[in-house]
């Protein structure tokens, strides 16, 4: 182990128009280390990254790269010194080749002209070094998003990067693509490159990272090795809470009375919603499920397993080749989301930014978008009715905004999600589809949304909840439908619902054989409901 770290940041301070975003934060990255940076929204992660990579100027503190003090005035500066950031949204040229993208701005030349052969060869060498099987002459836009991201990393490496910053690199990748990324990270490690890894997903941190630095409210909290650090302790550091306090609450804010509900729901002669044999191309293959009144049915599955596709099919957002949807025993004719909405369905989509918010419109307009027909007569919107609904739901869901007229894009992810949830709740739907309702939002808002979902189910709504977080599914659902390759391969209920069983079904394509002994996972959170209803 080298005594002098690769990158050292000391007492970094950054102030934005009077607000302290970073307050004396320290950060240290070793050679060949994958170092995670975590914290709730507003903790200062992205500000620190931007200072590290030259996108922002710091207001105070010092940065050392391999022991030498450095000062980056621009991303180009940082790149030149070997500090490279690869962002979530990859900034590359879609219509140019992989090699052109890698060498953009530094194309090898011969007699003043671009030396295409050398460029392609060099690009090929870099890709090979990273273990990537990508043709350097392929047009970038024809690669899938994961490979594009790898090209962005390759571009960073081609600069002779010593430090590579990966900001939420897996957010749009499938499980298989993630493993490609992991391979690349391992190769970077082997070349003693330091990697700063930002992700919301704990599983990933524990898989790829060596150490973690926790920030909270712009302050440095701790740097710890991940090995031996319990997840619950990490959450405590992030939240600034004591462990006992947190354990009492369980990992999510769901209650635990699902056995009874599941039993009651099965007794209902007609379920609230029944979808049968939904089939759409190769994405959905005869998917069936039903949800009772007051029931939360979870839906598990790896990315690309057909979870979102099922939701969209039920909601009429995609046309299906075959299959039926019944609500309260009545068959629905779903040709567009509009039809589904008027039937009493609601769908909180997975990608808040791309499919949820209308960024330029206010909280009020976003919240009432789906309800406009009900809030207007002869096509004219009643502002009074609109304001009433907006006030009511901003209060009820605790939406934090400077006013109802604030643009939704200025809100935090958690608050945006609450507005979108309110968009549906104010329609008094009978059936609610939630696709990753708590993804990418800070832990505080997460808990609030989870207990709200619970409350809604208790009031008689049927809920289909898609989630990648197994804890959320285990604690939140009375039944869990597991998807795999476009099929519903298992339905777990009661004590069968456990992380182990879900993973088993996702992996094996069938529910594990029933075991007579009690599953302990479920009982661990029995007092969560009581703690959270307050």
């Amino acid at each position: 182990m080298n005594s002098e770290p690769l990158l050292r940041m000391e007492g970094i301070t950054k102030v934005f128009s009077g607000n302290v975003a970073l307050d004396g934060v320290s950060f240290e990255l070793r050679h060949g280390e994958v170092h995670s940076l975590v914290g709730e929204n507003g903790a200062g992660k992205s500000t620190l990254i931007k200072i590290m990579t030259g996108a922002y100027r710091r207001d105070g503190g010092r940065i050392f790269l391999e022991g030498e003090e450095v000062s980056f005035n621009s991303p180009e500066d940082a790149q030149g010194a070997g500090v490279v950031a690869v962002y979530q949204e990859v900034n590359l040229l879609m219509y140019r080749t992989v090699a052109e993208n890698i060498f953009l701005g530094r194309e090898p030349r011969r007699f003043g002209f671009i030396d295409w052969k050398r460029m392609n060869d060099d690009a090929g060498a870099i890709l090979e070094r990273l273990g990537l099987d990508i043709d350097p002459t392929a047009t970038l836009g024809r690669l899938n998003i994961a490979l594009r991201q790898m090209v962005a990393i390759a571009r960073g490496v081609s600069f002779g990067a010593k430090v590579v910053v990966l900001d939420e690199p897996t957010s749009s990748l499938t499980e298989r693509e993630v493993s490609i990324l992991y391979d690349v990270i391992r190769r970077l490690k082997a070349e003693r490159v330091g990697v700063v890894y930002i992700s919301h997903r704990f599983d990933e941190l524990y898989t790829v990272c060596d150490r973690v630095t926790v920030l909270r409210d712009g302050k440095f909290v701790a740097t710890r090795p991940l090995e031996g650090l319990e997840r619950i302790d990490l959450v405590c550091l992030m939240l600034g809470k004591q462990r006992e306090e947190l354990q009492k609450k369980g990992a999510t804010a769901f209650g635990d009375h699902h056995d009874a509900i599941a039993a009651a729901a099965t007794e209902q002669s007609t379920p609230l919603l029944r979808a049968e044999n939904l089939t759409r191309g190769r994405k959905l293959n005869r998917v069936s499920l039903d949800v009772g009144r007051g029931e939360i049915v979870g839906m598990a599955g790896l990315l690309g397993s057909g979870r979102t596709e099922t939701a969209r099919a039920i909601f009429g957002a995609d046309e299906v080749d075959a299959g039926t949807v019944e609500l309260e025993g009545k068959r629905l004719k779903l040709r567009s989301p509009g039809d589904a909405i008027s039937a009493g369905l609601a769908f909180l989509s997975e990608d808040r930014k791309a499919e949820g918010i209308i960024p330029e419109l206010s909280v009020r307009e976003n919240l009432t978008l789906a309800a406009l027909p009900a809030l207007s007569s002869a096509g004219i919107v009643s502002r009074a009715k609109q304001d009433e609904i907006v006030n009511q739901y901003m209060k009820r869901l605790g939406i934090k905004a400077s006013s109802a007229e604030q643009k939704i894009r200025e809100l935090s992810g958690g608050n945006q999600q609450k507005v979108l949830l309110a968009r549906w709740l104010c329609k008094n739907p009978k059936f609610l589809i939630l696709d990753e309702p708590t993804r990418g939002i800070d832990i505080g808002a997460k808990g609030e949304i989870q207990s709200l979902i619970n409350e809604l189910a208790e009031s008689g709504l049927g809920v289909l909840m898609i989630s990648s977080e197994l804890e959320e599914l285990v604690e939140g659902s009375s039944r869990v439908v597991v998807m795999r390759d476009g099929q519903s391969v298992a339905e777990l209920r009661g004590r069968e619902i456990s992380q182990d069983n879900i993973i088993h079904a996702m992996a094996e394509g069938e529910a594990p054989p029933p075991v007579e002994t009690d599953a302990t996972e479920v009982t661990g959170t029995s007092d969560a409901a009581a703690a959270d209803d307050e």
């Binding site: 934005f16 128009s17 507003g42 209308i358 960024p359 419109l361 207007s376 934090k400 968009r423």
Partner: protein
Amino acid sequence: MSNTAGTVQRAGGFGWSKIADYAPTYGAFAALLLLLVIDSLFIPNFFQLSNFRNILLQVSPTVLVAMGMTFVIATGGIDLSVGAVMAIASAVAATSLDSGVFVAVLLALLIATGAGAFNGALVSGFHIQPIIVTLALLIAGRGIAQVINGGQLIPFSNPSFEYLGRGYVGPVPVQVLVMFLVVVAAIFVMRATTFGRYVVATGGNEAAAHLAGVKVRRTKVAVYALSGFLAGLAGLIETARQGASDAPNIGLNIELDAIAATVVGGTPLTGGRATVVGTLIGALIMQIITTSINMKGYQYSWSLVIKAAIIVVAVYVQRPKVA
């Protein structure tokens, strides 16, 4: 609480972003006032009623067309065919005047609206880029109009039709009255109706609007139809004013003036936001510059240069802010 801190931070930037949000409209308004002040200082007789009446007369076709353009641009689209649609409406009206004014006007507006709806159907149904679809009609439309007119100027003498372009209600020219009615209606529709909300929602985030139950396709067809209707109306007024249908020249380049007025007024070409009043102000600024240069006796070309500069500045002021 990190949550609160985050909110405060955003609230700090909020005031500024709010000002920046309104800057396009108020900026255009301020520019209009500035222009009037300068004119009043340097141009004798500028503040005469007849002068203002002239300005309003000259600007009214542009404003009518620009109102439709504002709706189209708010959905993230564009309509280059408006001038050509004016020509079609003009030709249809002039050649059918024999069947009566009422029939001629109705037929012309119907066909103009239909042409717009056709644009909208191609844009929303076949996912062809708006600029291409409407460029096609821009090229073809004027040709169609000339075919209808048999390649000739069609003069007519029909007092009740000419009233539309030459008549007065009290001291106010009919076409200025029509312009104001349309502007007021556009403000109302944009602000207070579900349609107006759907227009900006579609432009702001089409996928999200669709999932929220907004009839995105229908909305798009409707804005292009509206644009066609208003272009038709402008075509009728111009035709009535000239007392003849001049298919090759009527509404020539008006699409550019309308787009410029919309952009200067603060509606971004990306859509998702619309300021109807801003568009009116934008059109007025452009017209007043032309009129002022003219009154001062400078070459007309100067007004083009100044207008170009204003467009560039307006777009600069509204450029997307980096978060």
